[in-house]
Symmetry: C2
Subunit: 298 residues, 2 copies
Amino acid sequence: MRKAIGVDIGGGSIRASLFDETGKELESFVSPTPEHLDNQSFLKILQDTIRPLAKSGIGIGVGSPGPLDNERGVMISSANLQGLKNLPIKKSLVDEFSLPVWYENDANCAALGEAYFGTYKDTESQLTITLGTGVGGGFVNQGILYSGYLGNAIEIGHTTSVIGGALCGCGVRGCVESYFSTRGFLGRYEEKSNRRLSHAEEFFQLVREKDAVAMEILEFGTLALAHAVRGAVHLLNPEAVVFVGGITKSYDLFGKTLETEIRSTIFPVLNERLKIGSGASLSGALGAASLVFSKEKV
Amino acid sequence: MRKAIGVDIGGGSIRASLFDETGKELESFVSPTPEHLDNQSFLKILQDTIRPLAKSGIGIGVGSPGPLDNERGVMISSANLQGLKNLPIKKSLVDEFSLPVWYENDANCAALGEAYFGTYKDTESQLTITLGTGVGGGFVNQGILYSGYLGNAIEIGHTTSVIGGALCGCGVRGCVESYFSTRGFLGRYEEKSNRRLSHAEEFFQLVREKDAVAMEILEFGTLALAHAVRGAVHLLNPEAVVFVGGITKSYDLFGKTLETEIRSTIFPVLNERLKIGSGASLSGALGAASLVFSKEKV
């Protein structure tokens, strides 16, 4: 059975794992990464983490937050890994291990993981939406990751929910990300209550405690997300919509409203066929390994 | 050189034309269609209109407004052709002429026409948006029309501009079609002025005369359309966005604002590459013929 190496570059650590084609994790190595690093020392940690697995896999898939250039295999910069700039991830790994290497942003890796190993793996196409610090997306059609012209697409977080609305991190007003994401919830809560929360769990705890401001923000945010998904479904017409990411831990607080609003606003003919739900809790490393299995298909 | 037959089923007439691969119209026949017709007499008119061309083409492409089932080649119904129901267009033409037949909605045919013969034919992918009675869309990627799961996609007219906004013909509130289309302009104008206009030209004439209500409606409608396009660009990332349809006759009244708003709200990296503009004035029959050239590619 073919095996692939999946590498998940996160904020505080690098995880490299070996997976077989059923998605079973056979071996795994984790290295912490200091917050301040130069390119050369980061690449050395990356190579050292992968090295024990290198003889066992047919290829290496790497996932990290963007912005990145997946054509050239370069991490342009990272909010969580300061000091890194134009990091040549792909070249460094190809030179070291003489294996094929693919590098994608973590939302696309998550989408591939869901498409190959998730709850909806038996559907023809999956639109996977990552709900976390921001809102990301990936679309896999018949096992192939969709990339638009020169490789950027499914940036669903930056579709507009309210024209002229709340200012988003991208500099434009009214993106869905500014209403339904950690950044959005915390920003809207601070605006309305002058109180700064530090993470999404704190926001959802307030919702559970029936805090009126938090409930109102979640209610409108859920509507905004539902209509962003409606738009994506009407454009892409996937067989399944899958929600993943840290915020889905609180799916019980918004999932039903979200699904009902999507289903009642899409065309009835699409509603009959569409599957919607939260995804399996797959690791980022498995998503990255799915890149290898996916690219072998093309 | 290969030749294809393109058939445009419109409200008042059927036009069948023979085109060569450069898009040149070699011969054309038009038959008026009475508003009230049963299936059988309509199919006879359709066949009779095509018959003189049947020996010259490698296939027949047919376009009409929806709703239609393009897998089975059936027109489900037509707002402008009452009396028709579940019309087996494809079967009737295959049986009569023994040629391959493809049948698509007119927005998809327009998109194929633009992709093969329009201003942006040399780009990799084109998102074509039809601005008319409603708002339609089609996406052609490397010469292939995008269809989602079981063949419906790019329904950009029914992406949400204002959550809970103006009631759209589809039954949902706030679709972009209810802000930027003939139906939308006339509906919003009647709401605000209690005056019923009969067609888009009348609305645009009021804008030219600086009617404050009409100007305000066009201004917001243009913003709504721009953000709907922003969403589609962030999801699909096409190389070109092309506006076609009757309303583009008044492109001078909104085109610049529209393009500026799109360009200033999409990611800078996409803005650098994206081409935007109004399309060539191609006939519906040429769009339908493009179906034949396109399907031969697959």
